[in-house]
Structure formats: structure tokens, C-alpha cells
Symmetry: C2
Subunit: 322 residues, 2 copies
């Protein structure tokens, strides 16, 4: 059903507060979930409220987020079990603040869970004129290429670059499926697509529960698996466990860089804009499908959706949340 943006926000805040979340945190999470719904990522949108409620029941709302180590260009933040939507926003804002004063901000956040779409955080840095790299590891769900044991998180990585009009934002998952997508399939009783998961004995499965007990496959064969290992290692630098079991520590890594360290920022923005324009003006392989730069459809969905003023929410999610 169609839900007005303000109502969706109110609904989400109310639901989260009823489940024990601080009001200020609930606003941050709700804002992100509406953004994800607008972007067109159903399972990262309002339906994420249900697994969040389960986590809140299991782990509680968390305590006080603290910076435990800091230099003029870096900070390590202990999330004290507060939800990742909140700690990641604090993490990227800290990295932006450090980059403003010293050109670079390197920030790690750990001891936190669920942080949604990575583009939300890096876009914020690029809107402020900075280049951002963000990588997030999480509970081991994915087998490395050639293996059948779950050792890696679903491990997304994102970059953003400032440009004219709007930044170039690229958000990339390294697993063949998102965890939230598997949960969504489980909730709605649908089988997974073929060749995305194996059960505990390494046999192919399309059963969401068997996949959660076994492993998801990495995206992109050996190279995609390599990228997942890179994200895993960056998460370790942010203070995660090396391999994250169900009660383990996740890591969110942020690097925010002022382009002025190397180039005149306006010239850099112009060059990124030129790259984007050249890609979007290039000849498509299918004349009916213009070539798009990565991230542009999410951005466009968000713009169109904000102007429209409502998001689509699955009826069962709406009912459960109300």
C-alpha cells in the first residue's frame, strides 16, 4: 500500500520507541529506512523494522557510544551495542569533521549492528565536498570462493566522489544475496533464486532457513570473493572480530579524504562530472537502454519518490508495524 512519507516516518519512530529504542535513535533509523524505501530497496526499507525489533528484544537498545582512541585524523568508536544506523552516522560525521581540519578522517566503529545502505553515509561525505570509502563487515554468512563454511559477512563497500549537481555514489555488495533479502524471502515464504546458497553440508539450496544455517555464496567468483575479503579486513581494522560468529563484533570502516590534498577541488568535481556525462552520453548496447553510471537509479528513485511524497509498503509489513 501507499504510505505518506511523514506517516511512514512517524510509524517507524513509534514502532522503534515501543520496542525500547531511544527517541533520538529511532528518528535516525526511520529517516534511513524511508530513504532505503525511496531508493527502491524493499528489504532494506520499512520491512527491516521487524528484524530490528527481534534484535532489540535479544540485545537491547545499547548504551553510550564512546570514542575510545583518537588522533587529529582518526577515531575508534565503541558503539556499545547501539544500532549501526546511529553509530555509522556518528562515524561518518566524525570522519568528515576530521577531514575538514586535517584533510583525512579515518574512523572505525565496532560493537554495533545493522547499518542499512552504505550509500547513505558516503553520500553525506561527498555532499560536504569529500571523497569517501566505507566498508562494513558483519556476522559470517558467506563462504569464500571454493569453500562451504560461512566465514565472511555480506560485506558491502561504497565510494562517493563529489561532482557538480550531485555526487557520484557507488555502493556494491560482495555477496550474491543480502541478509535482509534472505530474511524477506523467509518471511514471505518464497524460495531463494538458484545458485545463491548452500546448506550446512555444502549442497545447493533455495530454502532461506537452510541458507541461514549453511552459507550464502559470494558474488562474482574468485574476484568478488577477493573483494569480500578486503571488506572483511577493513572491518577488522575498525575493530571487528576476524571471523564474526552470531554474538560477534562487527566493524564499520570509514575513510574520508579532502580532494584538495591532491587537486583543486573544483577541477576534480568537474572531471568527475565529465566522466559521468561521457558514460551517460555513450552508445548503449541496447538502443532502448541508455548507459547509466552506477548509483544513478537509486538517486533518481529517491528524488522522484520525495517529490511524489509516498512509499510503497507491503501490507503485511504495514499491519505488523502498526
Amino acid at each position: 500500500m501507499k504510505v505518506d512519507l511523514n506517516e511512514a516516518q512517524r510509524l517507524a519512530v513509534g514502532f522503534l520507541v515501543r520496542h525500547g529504542m531511544l527517541d533520538a535513535h529511532a528518528h535516525v533509523v526511520a529517516d534511513h529506512l524511508v530513504y532505503a524505501s525511496l531508493a527502491g530497496h524493499g528489504f532494506a526499507g520499512l520491512s527491516r523494522l521487524l528484524p530490528i525489533a527481534e534484535y532489540l528484544k535479544k540485545r537491547g537498545p545499547g548504551g553510550t557510544v564512546r570514542t575510545i582512541h583518537e588522533t587529529d585524523k582518526s577515531a575508534l568508536i565503541d558503539g556499545d551495542n547501539v544500532i549501526g544506523y546511529v553509530t555509522s552516522l556518528m562515524g561518518v560525521d566524525k570522519a568528515i569533521e576530521l577531514a575538514r581540519t586535517s584533510g583525512v578522517g579515518i574512523v572505525g566503529v565496532n560493537n554495533s549492528w545493522f547499518s542499512g545502505m552504505l550509500r547513505y553515509y558516503v553520500e553525506r561525505a561527498a555532499d560536504a565536498g569529500f571523497i569517501a570509502l566505507h566498508a562494513a563487515n558483519s556476522t559470517a554468512r558467506v563462504a569464500p570462493y571454493g569453500g562451504i563454511d560461512r566465514l565472511l559477512g555480506t560485506n558491502p563497500i561504497a565510494f562517493a566522489f563529489p561532482a557538480e549537481k550531485h555526487p557520484l555514489v557507488i555502493d556494491l555488495a560482495t555477496a550474491s544475496m543480502a541478509w535482509g533479502d534472505v530474511i524477506y524471502h523467509q518471511q514471505t515464504g518464497k524460495p531463494l533464486p538458484e545458485e545463491r546458497a548452500i546448506d550446512g553440508d555444502g549442497r545447493p539450496t533455495t530454502d532461506p532457513l537452510a541458507a541461514l544455517g549453511g552459507a550464502f555464496l559470494p558474488w562474482g567468483g574468485p574476484r568478488g570473493s577477493s573483494l569480500s575479503v578486503i571488506v572483511q579486513a577493513l572491518g577488522i581494522l575498525a575493530g571487528s572480530d576476524p571471523v564474526i560468529d552470531d554474538a560477534g563484533k562487527w566493524g564499520y570502516f570509514f575513510a574520508v579524504i579532502d580532494p584538495a590534498l591532491l587537486l583543486a577541488p573544483e577541477g576534480f568535481k568537474r572531471s568527475i562530472t565529465t566522466l559521468r556525462d561521457r558514460i551517460e552520453a555513450s552508445r548503449p548496447s541496447d538502443p532502448a537502454r541508455p548507459v547509466r553510471v552506477p548509483g544513478s537509479s537509486s538517486r533518481q528513485n529517491i528524488e522522484v519518490g520525495r517529490a511524489r511524497g509516498w512509499i510503497e509498503v507491503a501490507d503485511e509489513v504495514y499491519d505488523a508495524v502498526r
Copy 2:
């Protein structure tokens, strides 16, 4: 044929100096080509001497490498048309030096060409105890996903993380083929594999010359193409052109980070080692093929080859170089 390592080095240096390269630069290049041969990358090894000679004829040996902008944590280096094997080594060494004093080194190198295997540079930083990210763009050879115009370089990206015994080094190409590999197919008169390239009109081709006149396809569909755009943008930050035509400016980007900015370095190295050990001890999908961490076969090839004392060089390459 088998060529002794010292002879291979001497042969390469002699060849390069006869083609106008400075003796000091020729030693750097020869060292890298022997390393690449040892790693098992035929087309990045001694056979690369032939296209290097062509480039030297066309572009000359270059002038004086200069740092044109510098801060306490960054440097922009104009390669003045000197070969990339030399300027990238200077780039990563500069980034390491900056990271030693200020925790982070962000370095861009441009106006340079051919830099070989990215792992060579990031491994050097990780051997010194640092985390490294290195991305290199180059002449437009690759069409973005959904397009048929060549706009992106073959755009490799590499990361290295310090660990116990030896670092974790991950080197990833974002094109379905390396340029050197296509040249190698052209030199040896072999067709390209299917579905790797298109001609100037966007039609599939296995003809190396048609691929060089048309475009290589990106690796990994939309996500692989996204990663290539990220590398392109990082190269732009290093001072490259937005889209690099045949006479255009390439960019090499280096970020070197001291793990001590966030964690105790020994603990970080231990965790990366644990991740590696857990992956290599995990159950393989094929019992005959143990799970490997990315980069481990290159590393092992190099170790075994050094102990053995020789590399395999194609007869026609040996004859041409002598």
C-alpha cells in the same frame, strides 16, 4: 625456455638501456618484470619488454619526476612521461614515508605509463607495516556495462594488509582481459576467448586487433563495471584525464594507512592472520582443492621460483630481446 634469474635481469636491463631508458630505471623495470614472471603472469613478465620498447620509441624515456604539490600527508607527483614501474615505486615509497611521520600517506602520480602488477607496490607498504590501497587507471579500453564505447581503463585495484609471516595482498582487475594479454594474443596470433570484447560497432569479436579498435568488456557485469568506475575516479584524483584517449594522462592513486591510527598494530596483524588461517583451514567445495586466500598462489609462485632460480621465457620473446 628456462632463463636464470640473474640472466633475465641482465637481459632486460640491457634491452631497456639499448632502447633509451636510464640505467637506474631499467633496473627497476627489470626487477618488476622478473617478479611478474615468477608470479606466473606471462604477459606481465619479460614479454612486456616488447611493448615497452615500442612505447619508448614513440614517447621517449621521459624527463624528471617532480612533486608538484605536497602536504604533511599527501603528494602529487608529475611523472614527466617516465615509465610507471619507476614512478609508482616512487609514489608508494613517498606514501610510506608520509604514513611513517603522519599516519597517512595519500599520493597521486600522473603523466606516466605502464606500471605492471599492482601487488608489487602495495606489498611493499604492507611489508613496512602499513595498509595500502592502490588504484591505477589507463587508456580507455573498456566499455562500461550496458555500453559499447571504450571509456574506462582496464583499471586494476589492490589492497594489502600487514599480517604475521607475510602480508595479505589482494590484486583485482576490473576488466575481463588485461591489455597486455590482448597484445600477447595479437603477438602470438591467437584469438581472444569468447565474450570478452566487441568491435567498433559493438559486435562481439575474438580478434585482438578488432578489440583494440573497439572495446574490452568489463568483468563482473554491473557490479564489476561499478568497481571500474571507482578506479577511474581514484585515478582522476591522482591527476588523470576523466576519460583517457591514446595520448592522454593516466593516474596512479595510493593511500597508505598506519593501522596504529585505530588499533594496536600487533593485534591487527594477528587478526588478519586469523582470518587467513580460518579461510585456508575451511572446508572446500571440492575436497581436492583446498580453499585459498586471494593472492596466495602468486605469493607462493614467487617464493618457489626464487628458490628454483629461473623463470620460463617464451622462445620468441627471448630471441627478440637478445
